[in-house]
């Protein structure tokens, strides 16, 4: 027998590690669907006689309030409005948390497509995850209804015949907010941009719109992502003398910047803040004291008309009394239209065919009214420019917005010909 203790230790620990690995893997195991082979490229058969909708969203991170569990509620409401079945098939929902990480998101999407028979993925706030999911959806020939993300590349150079970009995008926001503000006298701008791809792109898009509308950009400063303190950048904004301070950032950075701008009295001293990516859930988190006077654009506001009010109140009853954001509304609208397309096609297996049908049918629902979908996958509807009310003007919780202008659907989004999408015939 060997007297070498170290080698025996290694031998035993290897045996033990096999056992441990097996034990660790076993609970995580999932039988792959019997019909699937290991090729990624082919379209796997759908799970028999049902449609499975996957709501992939951010359940616990920065975007949990503007999307998150509310998106699942919205999708369920769309299913209920269709009667729970379509073309004789039952409808099922699964949901998952991508935690705003591209690798986790694409992993969940991959697993859903391969093993759970998911036919369509909805929501996905966070553009980096959306781009990854769009790519994956194309290679597996499923459907992706992007209600949450903002990147205009989804209908631009990264467009796909399996993806429809639903609620909004950065081009539409830049266009609506930028153009309207300049028209109303906000002709000198200073940018506070997050120092990464998204912030830079947003700043660039809005700069283009501002200058095209006759305004001037006096300068800008880039701040690091997730900066807790904006005081020095806000000081620079103040001393620039620009009428408008444009916030080319999102999520926590925007909230922090607005809060601290209120602290420094930027709005009180006559400058106005333009939020380039702000949702009603952010305004709720800020409180009207800090957010009043902020100008922003959204595709949907719960209090816009009787239709939206009715739906929103039903939504709030199922979502802790919180009113829906435009992302939630987009999920509802997208799922509804998807189910209508399936009802006509009577099959859900071929993603490209379903999307083609969705693009062929004009859209119509209580929340966005009548709309169309462009050949590059861009859903078209009106955008609305709002100003956040002062605390004295707000009569109830969630009564936050004052409408400034409606941008009609044909002007609100980029023309397909300008999108650089290879699917669009020139």
């Amino acid at each position: 027998m060997s007297t070498h203790p170290r080698k025996r230790l290694a031998e035993h620990s290897m045996v033990a590690s096999l056992l441990a690995a097996a034990l660790a893997v076993a609970p995580a195991c999932k039988k792959t669907a019997p019909a699937s082979d290991h090729r990624d490229g082919t379209a796997a058969a759908t799970g028999g006689n049902k449609i499975t909708i996957g709501v992939l969203t951010d359940m616990s991170g920065l975007y949990a309030d503007l999307a998150g569990a509310g998106s699942v509620v919205a999708a369920q409401m769309a299913i209920d409005d269709m009667g729970g079945k379509v073309a004789g098939m039952a409808i099922e929902i699964v949901s998952g948390d991508h935690q705003n990480k591209a690798d986790i998101g694409s992993n969940i999407a991959r697993e859903w497509y391969d093993t759970k028979g998911v036919d369509v993925i909805v929501d996905v706030p966070t553009s980096s995850v959306a781009l990854a999911v769009s790519e994956l959806t194309r290679s597996k020939n499923k459907v992706f209804l992007a209600s949450g993300p903002g990147s205009a590349d989804l209908t631009g150079k990264s467009c796909s015949p399996n993806t429809i970009h639903w609620t909004y995008d950065t081009w539409a926001l830049a266009n609506a907010t930028g153009r309207e503000i300049v028209k109303h006298g906000g002709d000198s701008w200073f940018f506070l941009a997050a120092d990464y791809a998204f912030g830079t792109a947003l700043e660039r898009d809005v700069t283009r719109v501002v200058e095209a509308s006759g305004g001037k950009v006096l300068g800008g400063v880039k701040h690091p992502l997730n900066a807790p303190d904006f005081s020095s950048f806000l000081l620079q904004a103040q001393s620039s003398g620009a009428k408008i301070v444009g916030l080319a950032n999102a999520g926590g950075d925007t909230i922090n910047a607005i809060k601290q701008a209120a602290e420094f009295g930027i709005v009180a001293k006559g400058q106005k803040l333009a939020g380039l990516l702000v949702f009603i859930s952010d305004v709720n988190a800020l409180g009207l004291d800090a957010a009043q006077g902020l100008i922003l654009s959204e595709a949907f506001y719960w209090d816009r008309d009787d239709n939206t009010r009715g739906w929103s109140k039903a939504f709030a009853a199922r979502h802790d009394g919180k009113m829906p954001t435009m992302v939630h509304a987009g999920v509802y609208s997208a799922v509804l239209h998807y189910l209508k397309a399936i009802a006509e096609l009577k099959a859900a297996g071929d993603g490209k065919a379903v999307v083609a049908k969705m693009e062929a049918l004009p859209t119509d629902d209580r929340l966005f009214g009548k709309g169309t979908i462009d050949p590059n996958g861009r859903k078209r509807h009106a955008m609305y420019v709002y100003e956040v009310k002062a605390p004295g003007d707000s009569k109830a919780k969630w009564d936050y917005y004052k409408l400034i202008r409606e941008v009609p659907a044909d002007q609100a989004f980029r023309a397909p010909a300008d999108s650089a999408c290879p699917l669009v015939a020139k």
Binding site: S232, D282, G287
Partner: protein, 293 residues
């Protein structure tokens, strides 16, 4: 445009830097105290700072207790938690390599942050500036929000008081002696383990105090500590890991340096502290104010 700035505006930026520095100083003070006496690298410091801010929010939200009492309540609560943690968990690991304590406190930080995240989500809760401190004061070269001025003043007071207690009083001398030779100090009849426990409680109470101070201006969110803690570690390492004055001075100094970087080269403002830390560690490993071991 970055790089071009008037003297007036520069003063304004430096003042803001000083204000940020006061948070760094408060937090690194707590870390330095804990490391100095316990030889524990308290990775949970950021999470306890966050917890302090949340307790401040919670007592307002659920019990109507406002900002001023919260400044006492939150540190007391977190300090008590710290005492429990030290007694039940940290004490077991003193005889081992200090890296184990770092790992344990890292685990604690994850637990606290994860629980807060599960309960509150990530976008955070609003917390208003107390009425007495609202508004701005025109200083000529800039407008200074009153609250920020208050933060700087109170941090300075707390920092200097703590320094005074540890360096110039009898209690402080016991603490310092216990760092160097706990057995001997114990032999003199001083209850060293209890002193150690109280010190940990004090250190984390300071973190919670900073948390309440931060609540009205930074966002009260589960992630607020995580972003801070790495920078604060760098501050403590630069200042000298056991040196109280070192952390105070470095904290304020770093605020100033960051402010200058934001003006002249904003892209580097997040990394300048790490570059400095690497340089200091290579040139003067005990830190600028630390004692060479």
């Amino acid at each position: 445009m970055p790089g071009e700035i008037s003297a007036q505006a520069l003063f304004g930026q430096l003042l803001l830097g000083l204000i940020n520095g006061s948070f760094y100083a408060l937090l690194s003070l707590g870390l330095a105290i804990i490391f100095g006496l316990l030889n524990v690298i308290n990775f949970a410091h950021g999470a306890l700072y966050t917890l302090g801010a949340f307790i401040g929010w919670a007592v307002l939200h659920y019990a109507g207790i406002g900002y001023w009492p919260a400044l006492i309540v939150a540190p007391l609560a977190v300090g008590a938690l710290g005492i429990v943690v030290e007694r039940t968990l940290l004490q077991r690991l003193y005889r081992l390599d200090p890296l184990y304590n770092l790992l344990l406190t890292f685990g604690l930080a994850l637990i606290i942050q994860g629980l807060l995240q599960t309960r509150f989500g990530s976008s955070g809760e609003p917390y208003e500036i107390p009425a007495l401190l609202k508004g701005v004061k025109d200083l000529g070269f800039m407008v200074l929000p009153v609250y920020r001025g208050w933060v700087t003043v109170v941090s300075l007071v707390v920092c200097l008081t703590t320094w005074f207690v540890t360096e110039r009083t009898k209690l402080g001398s016991y603490l310092r002696a216990a760092t160097e030779n706990p057995a001997l100090v114990q032999a003199f009849g001083i209850n060293v383990p209890r002193m150690v426990t109280m010190t940990y409680g004090l250190g984390v109470a300071l973190a919670a105090f900073a948390g309440v101070l931060a609540a009205p201006i930074y966002r009260v969110s589960p992630g607020m500590g995580a972003e801070m803690i790495i920078v604060v570690f760098a501050v403590v390492v630069i200042g000298g890991m056991g040196s109280i004055m070192g952390s105070i001075v470095t904290g304020f100094a770093l605020g100033l340096i960051e402010a200058l970087t934001k003006v002249f080269y904003p892209a580097a403002s997040s990394t300048v502290v790490f570059a400095l830390m690497a340089v200091v560690l290579l040139v003067r490993p005990a830190g600028l104010f630390g004692k060479a071991t």
